[in-house]
């Protein structure tokens, strides 16, 4: 249980800006991101849009290659350049569930064809019959019953929730070790959300995979995960066990997220937001702590240097000078 399956150390991802005026500048999408994921754990990454959480997932999925820093998977460093075979082997172990259930499925193929692809690509279960059996099995697990009815359908004949179930089934089909789920429920209807979340938790247990769950919804993260990472403007602000992040949140940004989340219990007693403002430009990120222009507790040193991660409790780290 305590074995780390994936470790990121000081990973940066910068995108060059393709514009004449800003030639040579880069977008700091990910800066100094370090964390580890234990086997069998659910780790949530929470942040606003533009906080770098999707970039982090894409780097882990090797859709993007990191600019610098080390990524270690199952004890082996994942180099920037991999041979075709290594790359395939990695992708078999690390599967991704995308945010948009409409864009992630090829509209010209039936669900059956879509589900066959991972088996063909990764050369699993050679016999046609065996492939069909595994597909039926996983489709039943995600609640698409009876499977033979769904394998004949095209994506446009399915509802959003059903499409996301196909995506999830496809990710789990190759028996991966790690699932990266990038806001899998944000485009679904409320009534579907809980059943998809419960199903992912069930599959995670029954397939014994590790799980990275990316979301902007703190309460959803609490429901799903063991540990939570809070990201802001490309940097990790706070990391710790889910309950500690929610109940003893330390970083002002985490508290801002918490106060912004809708919660009917609070009703009219709600206090006003501690701060407003927008996420800063990542081309010229603010010097020092990236949150300081919006931080209500800002002091002079905040703009001078980036605070280091500080341990405040067992497994609970925060990037703040306070």
């Amino acid at each position: 249980m305590n074995e780390n399956i994936l470790v990121l150390e000081g990973v940066n991802k910068h995108f060059p800006v393709n514009s004449f005026r800003m030639h040579g500048k880069v977008v700091h999408a990910m800066d100094d991101v370090s964390f580890s994921l234990r086997r069998g754990e659910v780790l949530a990454i929470v942040g606003e849009s533009g906080s770098g959480k999707t970039t982090t997932a894409n780097v882990m999925a090797r859709i993007y290659k990191q600019t610098s820093g080390r990524v270690t998977f199952e004890g082996r460093e994942i180099s920037k350049n991999m041979s075709r075979e290594d790359e395939l082997r990695y992708h078999k172990k690390v599967q991704m569930i995308f945010q948009d259930p409409f864009g992630a499925l090829n509209p010209t193929r039936t669900v059956g064809r879509i589900m066959e692809r991972p088996f063909v690509i990764h050369k699993i279960a050679g016999r046609r019959k065996a492939v069909e059996e595994s597909i039926d099995k996983i489709l039943i697990q995600v609640g698409l019953e009876p499977p033979e009815q769904f394998t004949r359908k095209f994506p446009h004949e399915l509802s959003g929730g059903q499409r996301q179930r196909v995506n999830i089934a496809r990710a789990f089909a190759v028996e991966p070790e790690l699932i990266l789920a990038d806001e899998p429920t944000s485009m679904l209807d409320v009534s579907n959300r809980m059943s998809i979340m419960n199903m992912m938790l069930y599959l995670k247990e029954s397939h014994s995979v590790s799980f990275i769950y990316i979301t902007h919804d703190l309460s959803g993260a609490r429901y799903m995960s063991d540990r939570i990472i809070v990201m802001y403007a490309g940097m990790i602000m706070e990391i710790g066990p889910a309950e500690k992040i929610i109940n003893n949140s330390f970083h002002p940004y985490t508290r801002l997220l918490k106060s912004a989340a809708p919660s009917p219990e609070m009703g009219l007693k709600r206090k006003r937001l501690i701060t407003g403002g927008d996420i800063p430009s990542l081309i010229d990120p603010p010097g020092g702590c990236r949150f300081h222009p919006r931080c209500p507790f800002v002091s002079d040193i905040c703009s001078l240097e980036v605070p280091a991660m500080k341990k405040i409790d067992e497994g609970h780290y925060v990037r703040c000078i306070l």
Binding site: E48, S49, S159, G161, D189, V190, S191, N192, R193, M194, S195, N198, H216, D217, L218, S219, G220, R222, Y223, I246, L256, L257, K258, S259, A260, A261, P262, S263, P264, E265, M266, G267, R270, R272, L273, G276, D278
Partner: protein, 331 residues
Amino acid sequence: MIELDRLEMTPLLQCKNLVAGYRIKSGFVHAVDDVSFDLDRGGFLGIAGESGCGKSTLAYAIMRLLKDNATIESGSLLFKGADLAKLDEEQMKKIRWVDISMAFQSAMNALNPVLSVGEQLTDAIHAHEEATQSDARKRALEVLKLVDIPKDRFNSYPHQLSGGMKQRVMIAMALILNPELIIMDEPTTALDVVVQRTIIEKIQELRKTLGFSVIFITHDLSLLVEISDTLAIMYAGKIVEYGASESLFNRPLHPYTKGLMNSFPSLTGMIKRMGGIEGKPPDLLKPPEGCRFHPRCPQAIPICRESCPSLEEIADRHSVACFLHKGAEIL
């Protein structure tokens, strides 16, 4: 004197037995079916439901902006003594945006990409009244200030603004002619939690100072309970529960409302496994017999399959359309 009294007593908008829908090749889609509600002056009505439950159709029906193949079949929409459902286009033009305006769901698409923010705002003024260029400009700047958009954004184009700013410009557009009612169709759905919160706070603040009424449509019930004073829960074209938000939140009666309440995890308290609602909304071309929710309802009883319950007031400002709460003679 009597006139004045009556004006203050009657609700701003009274929707009575409204039926609206879409005529397509294979039949008539009952998107809004027998919907009634009252909106008081200065009130905040929240309408919640899944996609496809007819909540947007209801909004467009009030604005009389339905698509060509959609019609209001019957029912009335009494707004300040006039029935919106029966007005012709010329009369409606005098009310639309002047008295009732709307903030649309996707600010990204609802703003004209080739006009600057200022041009769009002044356009709205010129379309509805005689005003000089400088007068219009002055008023546009005033509303921009209300929604916290800096002056130098007057000449910006929509693509130069962030999502939250665009949404605030949408609200400024809705405010520009000082309407009495603003319909907001999922104005914060595409936004982040923090931006969403700032916009909600802005709306509440403006409502207090300017005194307009709001119909707020969303699928996010957790947000709605917090901000609205009256709530209507829609399912498959019908209002299934209606009442004061507090009462609805503390004592949800309809199984569908309970299911919705159970669909969002909470930040406080114990983590419990939550259910959500199984199944999906019915096809509105041929809605199920009886109560439209019965195929998904965990508490369905035989009568639910046969006849459709009507909305009945069971407590002060709290009505529900469900046989489970109809009294002993049916149970």
